[in-house]
């Protein structure tokens, strides 16, 4: 069974530029999560989707971050414009709703 796929794996941009991350969850997983993991910290939930609907985006900085899951499968997370403090690993996870979350390898973003 294929795991959660994310791309790109690494991205370096300058502040005020835009960036987008892509996630393909495990087939059949209705729930999809985006997390931000700053160096030395645990992951922080940004947004949770159930199929193509948003369940929780309370910690998503909506002035600059947006996410969508149009067909209830793939998802994209966008940052526009990026700030220095957005440097982090962005993790995507998916779940069948049984409690276990399966994580992708993450995208390491560096904002200069």
């Amino acid at each position: 069974e294929a795991g959660v796929a994310q791309s790109p794996r690494y991205k370096i941009i300058e502040k005020r530029q835009s960036v987008a991350f892509w996630c393909n969850p495990i087939s059949g997983h209705a729930t999809l999560y985006w997390y931000q993991q700053i160096l030395g910290q645990g992951p922080k939930l940004l947004i949770q989707f159930q199929n193509n609907g948003v369940v929780d985006d309370s910690q998503l900085p909506k002035d600059r971050f947006s996410a969508e899951r149009l067909k209830g499968v793939d998802s994209t997370l966008k940052i526009q414009p990026a700030k220095l403090e957005d440097s982090a690993v962005y993790l995507c996870a998916s779940s069948l709703g049984t409690g276990e979350q399966f994580f992708g390898p993450g995208t390491r973003l560096t904002v200069l």
Binding site: V4, K44, G99
Partner: protein, 111 residues
Amino acid sequence: TQLLEQSPQFLSIQEGENLTVYCNSSSVFSSLQWYRQEPGEGPVLLVTVVTGGEVKKLKRLTFQFGDARKDSSLHITAAQPGDTGLYLCAGDPFGAQKLVFGQGTRLTINP
């Protein structure tokens, strides 16, 4: 706001030693999970504990959920270099499949 505090944040020990990592909160969680994360990879689930006082064993790893479901511990017996990694505890406060993570314990086992 539910917070999980892990201790210690860093631990470096010799192969063969035993160790315990703690995960504490003032909040009650419906379940608590332990993950292990290696560099350049996402976290991988090790165990889920649900019942207060529950103890689960995974080979040399023993996980315990506190009676009040506010804290947990991970004990490793006879640590091996392959146990090196970042250990994260994560709690689900409302049973809504939404996790709050601790800041992690970075464990290094020296040969």
